[in-house]
């Protein structure tokens, strides 16, 4: 049961992180994102790398060399489809 919860939590955590970025006008620095996500820095780092690898977020650098995180099209689609994804997993007991 714990494993199920962990997996569910993982999808939820990804949703929460993406949602934080979207709610900040799709542009947020890594440090405030860490703070808002309520994760340990190690967990945050894992999720951050995973989101970059999956192409759900991307890093952009402004003219002052400051790094910001924004959602990609795929990230927006994840947010849009999240309820359907959960429904699918629930329906087929995956």
């Amino acid at each position: 049961m714990d494993k199920i919860k962990r997996k569910r939590d993982r999808l939820e955590m990804i949703f929460d992180i993406l949602n934080i970025i979207r709610n900040h006008h799709n542009s947020i620095k890594p440090t405030p994102l860490l703070r808002h996500s309520n994760l340990s820095s190690q967990s945050f780092s894992e999720y951050f790398n995973e989101l970059l690898e999956k192409g759900l977020i991307k890093e952009i650098t402004d003219e002052n060399e400051r790094k910001f995180l924004t959602l990609t099209d795929k990230g927006f689609r994840y947010l849009d489809k999240y309820k359907l994804i959960l429904g699918f997993i629930e329906e087929f007991e995956l």
Binding site: K74, I85, E91
Partner: protein, 221 residues
């Protein structure tokens, strides 16, 4: 003298229609779940969707087996007959075993995380298709897959015993596997299921896969 064929056009038409419908539904399920898998890379979705890819291919090779069987005397050279008959059966065995194992794993992966599950499944599927190849008949394939079906039922009962309910999904999967094995019986030398009964079973089997497709469609708009 006119060529001597044993093709039964009615049966061929029924089998072709059945195959086209089932393969279309299986590939549609695989295609429809592509986006939610791409977004999540969720293990359960991965094994669920490849099940239908494997079964789609298995049904195609099953049709080839039935087709060759229905051609009867057409392949009158022994070696051609053997090759044309055995190879679709071998691929049929491989893909359907992969399908059964993938669907079973999609149900149990949360409880039993098995390392290198795809390699293991491939090994089992290759052994079963190897047995089919060397035995030159579908009998051992049917028996091996019946054993897999029993294994699936035991695993499902183990999982569902915790929730103390038998879900509608479990019944659907059970029927899906059962109809697959009934379908394999049509390939055997002892075709003891009358054509009419077999056709009715195929229609029920389409309904079962159709219900799964309808459930998939609800969440993959």
């Amino acid at each position: 003298m006119s060529p001597y064929h044993l093709i039964d056009p009615t049966r061929l038409l029924v089998e072709l229609s059945y195959t086209l419908i089932v393969v279309f539904i299986c590939f549609s399920i695989y295609y429809k779940t592509r986006e939610i898998y791409d977004l999540t890379k969720y293990e359960g979705i991965k094994y669920f969707r490849i099940t239908f890819l494997f079964f789609g291919l298995a049904f195609l090779f099953r049709f080839l087996s039935v087709f060759v069987m229905l051609m009867g005397m057409t392949f009158d050279i022994d070696i051609s007959r053997y090759i044309f008959r055995i190879f679709p059966l071998v691929f049929n065995g491989y893909f359907s075993t992969m399908g059964i194992l993938s669907l079973t794993y999609s149900m149990i992966w949360k409880e039993l995380q098995i390392k290198h599950v795809l390699i293991l499944s491939n090994a089992v599927a290759i052994i079963i298709s190897g047995i089919t190849f060397f035995s030159r008949s579908s009998d051992l394939l049917i028996e091996a897959q019946a054993v897999l079906l029993i294994f699936t039922i035991i695993m499902a009962i183990y999982i569902y015993s915790r929730s103390r309910k038998i879900s509608q999904l479990f019944i659907l999967y059970f029927l899906f596997f059962l109809f697959w094995i009934v379908n394999l019986l049509a390939l055997g030398p002892r075709r003891f299921i009358p054509f009419e009964i077999h056709t009715i079973l195929e229609i029920i089997s389409i309904a079962v896969i159709g219900i799964i497709y309808q459930k998939v469609s609800r969440w993959t708009k």
